[in-house]
Symmetry: D2
Subunit: 364 residues, 4 copies
């Protein structure tokens, strides 16, 4: 059966470029999503799945839903053109120098290459970055903000994408048009996330019985994703004065009983009075040509993005309070992780940006 | 069988005061919770359950879980000492004048007697209040804020309790110590609620398939509960200048996939620098003697309150952002509705405040 | 944005056959799934979506997650080569005669063309079939059982597929190898389903609060899907004596708190002693070449099929009780509805059977 | 605050007997439920909570919802009249001999004293029972079946209650009237359970992401609870011939995405034709005087029992298939564990059976 599916899925005879791809850290949820997306990507051949302590294990041992791919897990990778890493913080930084030395294009889904300032790693992640010289070369892989820099990696000697965190993706896409226009005077971001973002390790507070029928805030006093938010908000700001993260982004994540999905509600006090038509025009202009950002006139829900690479954004101005509310929703494992990484990969390799990401959301 | 349970539950021969209670609007979720709590209240005899179009229908027809009570639904109420109303807005206002004229103590769980200013009803609820003269007599039934006024209703000619909304309860209990101290310079309230708060009517957006695995914000631009929040924050504020609701409370409710529970996250910019020990002392003093408010050193979760009348509060100061985060969690149908109404009823009738509300939370 | 996505999705210049497809009943959950799958089908152009009372309404009005398709809903359909119907029972039977008279290939996802015996309609569905002469021509659209008959529709004058119900699909795929071998002496089918199978209408018992944290059996005394099960088990049986449905299939569906997924547990008393290796060999032979049936050595879970057209089957023999347990799991809206209909459509139009159905399951 | 609650909860001056109770294994979910129920039991004083490696730890460290009790966990117990044990299998058997030697009444919620035949322990649980001589003295603590034997423990030298498992409770209560009448010719039990029954240990397959939106069967080939079911069905049967468990009970548990609740669907082929009125009369007679078993004319749901000690039963005869369907639902942590144990405790100590168990179910 496997052979039959494979046969029917086989590349058509067109002279399509095929990129050899490896995945390091293939057993987690993000790893599984990378396999799901890349296995159906017309320009990709998955040449290896690396996972500690595995030797020729069928992928179905950890991802039963991917049994049909016939892939196996191994403790090492064969030669590849590109490698995706889905590892805990600190682990990728140790592996990437060797990979880039061999000319491999690297897409790191962890935080090790997201931050420009080496000093941010001890501060936010508790480790000294072992390869600070690579941080300047790495590109923060949010295509809607850094598309040109990602494209420039095509010809670069060192190509590292630091693929964004799940919360920063929804937050930055909801805020970018305001930040670029210098409109954010004060900012509170209150986000709600499904549990899959916490990964696959069985921790006592992540069992079904503990999570179900309960909401709780966590990361109080400073979630690590704040570092990315502050960096990118500063980058987006027209002047240092207009930087909404200058005094520290007030970000609160909440764990809600669902598996996938992030909603980031950004409560913004604007620097000047705005009308609603102005606001809509601003967002329409910003995202008109974006393949994966949808500006919605009606309130958005995380369930409208399940399994897809879309981020949906809703923005409104409240005359009573004088505040703007900008909301972004996404599937945290797709646009918030694996899908976004594939999107950046497409850009780096000069492919149409949506290749392999055309899946529509699953609802209900 | 019913008889056996009844027999063993029967009041002991002590000379315990028995209050005859009726419930109007007994078929909804709040009505069901009132029955659950009052049926086990040692000083209450439920003399009637009123529901439109019902004639001697067993309560199990709408509340199968309450079959054992043997109660019946009828289209009218017999004579009662106290009446609880759980009705859509506008409905109670039409019935209460007659009830109070007969000397009945009224606990209204809808919004009709929560607001002091008659003008707030057309503004927030879209109807002219038919009995504005009663608004001044009514007491906002949050015992932690208005205990003395509730107790004074014992001897009042007209006794109306406007029992608070679910969101204002969690929000005000999280904020009261700060508001009383005039410490709130700027305020964003981002709340998360289970679905039961939307009531029992089958609306398209409330089916399981629509709610499950999705989070969405709603009430954008002004949820009706804002009216109560602004009224009570003004009341709590030491001076008009210090009123955090003066410019409009920025309140955003979010629907999360669970049945019960509210978490209100209050992001506060304080009027002056604070230390964490100051903050804790403030809350400990405020709630030390409260039977139903628990100040927790560790982050709180809605699941810690299920089925109980507790509101749990966690407060912290973030030196990085200079903001206070005050979080309140509750069971929206108990402390956020039926339980709180019974608590106020106890005060009005001079009973120990926790009578009938001693149940510990159910977890997991 | 829509235009950009459309452009990048545009058919490549290959001489690929394009089939014009219409959907009647496009606003329900099954209709939404048909759109999701057919929009990405390389040989399909959706020419119209019919829904009562709609005139040029954007599909996003009912399916926000499908906003990107740019499709519209209308009260009528343009000319089409094939029409999918997703309607309540009785509704398709009234429309299909006209469609087939025009030479349109019909795939009906309701029950109106699943049963061969006209007398079964009044018995199980409460209506007289208006076009009983078409029942003989229709093919029960379970490809694993009726592939050749579906293929024969390619050249038939009248081509009607009665696409199977969600429960019969999982049940029949779990039982077919046993039934064909005449091995079933006695049969109990206990199935568990997510809520989406009940459709989109907001009924009181389907609200989130009623479904969540509760399991209940329903359809006690005879769910309508029993008719299909009995028909197909009889058809599979080698002799009339060996027909396990002869005395009535004992089928019990249970509603569980999830959106998608069906697990059918078939408790079988076999006609003769079996060894486990025999059993495995039987299933491997039966499904070796099936693109969408996976025989699993380890227990299966509905979550392993989400969003995909796979049915996973696990079978075991219990020496202690002498019974066989055969379990089938599927996504009720895909293999149990829209995906299976597309699979049959592919066969009828001579396309590779998996076209447009290559999506891997989504997990977690 | 703690003191205030305690004061208001304090025993009234009546000469109420007070039983000193200890709990061993207080940190799990069943332990938490025992605390919740016993803390509000008017005849109980919890004198100690024993948990390995704890020394004067506040109970809130493991059960935040029970913070108000002010109880502490310790590594040993003080003197007690009764001890409840909630331990993994094998652990209680090692402790109970010493306890009974001291005259303590023991209610064991694990399996160590449920089975009469010592040989069943190595077979089903994989350990040799260290105190087989105590098995004959122990009473299977299902009050509806063994009330008189439980009452007889009041004066017994050795008093051990083997409190039933969660699945056997729902199954046996659904089947007992049929079994006693010798009416069961063939039996399939298909049960659905929430996740809390699996306990509190964080196992990979019990994380939220793995359990949510998925149903799976487990324990295929023989769940340990079968041993109890077979023992008690044999005990209930009027003759050895009529014993439905003689050939092995076919029992299949399914894990569904909810925290609490068990539904046991018992598919019964009767020994002789029955009418529905006969069946109802049989059940009404059996359970008329039972305080915690409700026979319902309408289908039952687990959600109707949440937090309460009720088991609801629905029975029907299907003329089409000739089978009886008997369904039992319960809260697995209350009637399926802690509540039932308190019920048996009440009988052993001569208290009214419902004492401390009067809570009505929580719905929705």
């Amino acid at each position: 059966m496997r052979s039959r599916l494979a046969a029917e899925n086989a590349p058509q005879p067109a002279a399509r470029p095929i990129i050899r791809v490896g995945i390091i850290g293939a057993t987690g949820y993000v790893g599984g999503e990378l396999i799901r997306l890349l296995q159906r990507h017309p320009n990709v051949r998955i040449v290896g799945l690396q996972a500690r302590g595995r030797e020729a294990d069928p992928v179905s041992a950890v991802h039963p839903h991917l049994a049909r791919t016939g892939l196996v897990l191994d403790s090492s990778l064969p030669e590849a053109d590109a490698v995706f890493l889905a590892l805990p913080h600190g682990a990728a930084a140790a592996l990437v120098p060797d990979l880039v030395a061999k000319g491999v294009r690297v897409i790191d889904l962890g935080p090790d290459f997201r931050l420009r300032a080496a000093a941010d790693y001890p501060r936010w992640y508790g480790f000294e970055h072992p390869a600070p010289e690579l941080l300047a070369a790495a590109v923060y892989g949010l295509p809607e903000l850094h598309r040109a820099e990602l494209a420039a990696l095509a010809d670069a000697q060192v190509a590292i994408v630091g693929s964004p965190g799940c919360f920063p993706t929804a937050t930055l896409l909801a805020l970018a048009p305001l930040a670029r226009a210098g409109l954010i005077a004060d900012l509170v971001v209150d986000a709600k996330t499904g549990v899959s973002g916490a990964g696959r390790d069985p921790r006592p507070e992540l069992t079904y019985s503990e999570v179900n029928e309960s909401v709780r805030a966590y990361g109080i006093g400073g979630h690590r994703h704040v570092a990315e938010m502050e960096q990118e908000l500063a980058w987006l700001s027209p002047t240092a004065d207009a930087n909404p993260g200058a005094n520290g982004v007030d970000f609160l994540p909440n764990l809600v009983p669902m598996t996938r999905g992030i909603l980031a509600a950004c409560h913004v006090r604007p620097t000047r009075p705005l009308t609603s038509p102005e606001l809509r025009e601003l967002y329409d202009q910003a995202y008109r040509d974006e393949p994966f950002v949808e500006v919605s006139d009606t309130p958005v829900a995380t369930g409208q993005t399940l399994g897809s690479n879309f981020c949906r954004v809703h923005v409104s101005f409240d005359e009573r309070t004088g505040r703007i509310l900008a909301i972004g929703v996404e599937d945290n494992l797709v646009k918030g992780a694996a899908g976004q990484a594939v999107q950046a990969f497409n850009i780096v390799f000069g492919l149409p940006e949506i290749t392999g990401l055309e899946q529509l959301p699953l609802a209900p």
